[in-house]
Symmetry: C2
Subunit: 275 residues, 2 copies
Amino acid sequence: MRADGVSVTSIDTIVDGVHFRLDTHSPADVGHKALATALSDIAAMGAEPGEAYVSLALPSDFGDALQLVAAMEALADRFDLTIAGGDVVGSPMLTVSVTVVGHAGDPDSLVYRSGAKPGDRVGVTGMLGGSGAGLVLLDGLDHVDVPDRDTLIQRHLRPEPRIHEGLALARTASAMIDVSDGIATDARHLAERSGVRIEIDLPRLPLAPGVREVAAALERDPYELAATGGDDYELLLTGADATDVTWIGRAVPGEGVALLGADGTPRELHGFEHG
Amino acid sequence: MRADGVSVTSIDTIVDGVHFRLDTHSPADVGHKALATALSDIAAMGAEPGEAYVSLALPSDFGDALQLVAAMEALADRFDLTIAGGDVVGSPMLTVSVTVVGHAGDPDSLVYRSGAKPGDRVGVTGMLGGSGAGLVLLDGLDHVDVPDRDTLIQRHLRPEPRIHEGLALARTASAMIDVSDGIATDARHLAERSGVRIEIDLPRLPLAPGVREVAAALERDPYELAATGGDDYELLLTGADATDVTWIGRAVPGEGVALLGADGTPRELHGFEHG
């Protein structure tokens, strides 16, 4: 759409029963989430949102498509994104695919997953574990006193793409990825694409308020929950310096990811079930 | 991806049981069809294929994703299209979304649905009714002697996007659309967007070989089948002159679509069931 600069494009799909559940998500939550997850990829490249193309595959008894689209448009407006096209088809299962095009002035201003070098620090924006804890709360734990219950649930239902943070961090980051599967998995993608080993100090992870209480109720380590809970859509990056980032580890020669406990020894993590 | 010219983008989605059926379509047929239908939109704008972004929502027991992707790549190669990105997610129902970006040297070389003017002739590329007849044959009529049976079935399973035709016709066409729902419906889209009435002479429709025999077996008018059978993916256009086009009608002042019989009077059509 623009004649100057470069563009990047990302496509993301969410499916009822796999990435969300209509018994816990309103149609508006689904619309928001579909666009937010697609925008999160654009954020991780340090690009400015440009246009989105939306495919809605709707069950014949799904009556709230307008609410779904309105929530998508509200999120688009906040980031000056234009929903420029779409397609609506019938489907037994609500499925939303979003293709987002982002723009940058020149290729050098973009960040990829492949630029991490030994010696880089590893940082993360915001706080972790909130979405995973919110999902646990959506499914139960009604008897547990969690002061930030509603915030955690909203964190799961309405993830926030870190567009502004991505644009700012792209100036100094050597590599970046959004935290969609949990940092344990997403750090592995960075390590593989960059040809480095990434060490993460679990006790340094910035826990979202309430994660500690939810983890206690599940008799789980809160830092393990934060490392394996997905859908936080924060940005995981490598670099030498940046503001508004929590430094949680380092890139070293080698391969793979090590998650280190308080005593500096690697920990085996158990997966955190999430939807 | 390119710094010069303009780009157009289209997103299309096909769903098992709605747009195709896995009991009649191989995984390779599905991959071909998903990309072909998306490319057809690019063809109708007179743009050159650029990049595609593919979302595959796959059931856990679907084992032939590689065949699906290979058929998509084979079609992409034929039109110098780059499959530049994708997303694979789990889903109870096989669903394929394809976003295709097309390019043109300047905006004036593109054709839209809105440019038809009273006095324009209405034309169509290729032949009609083949895909609809092929679908009928896939579902039965084994006892009927149809000489072009396999060609008709292939026409349904492996539609051909009219990319080269679209680029050539864009030089002179005032408006263009691809025939995905049948010309009765697609002509209505052209008429509405252009603010004209479109008259189509049913006896002028170019029937694909075998359509006459299939229509006879169904005791239907072959021209009605050709006008209402979808998925032909030919191009319907308006303009003053063009080669390799069958002229089937005209744009006149007014609104809506009239399908005229041999005696020049409007005919009420009955829908042609298609998947």
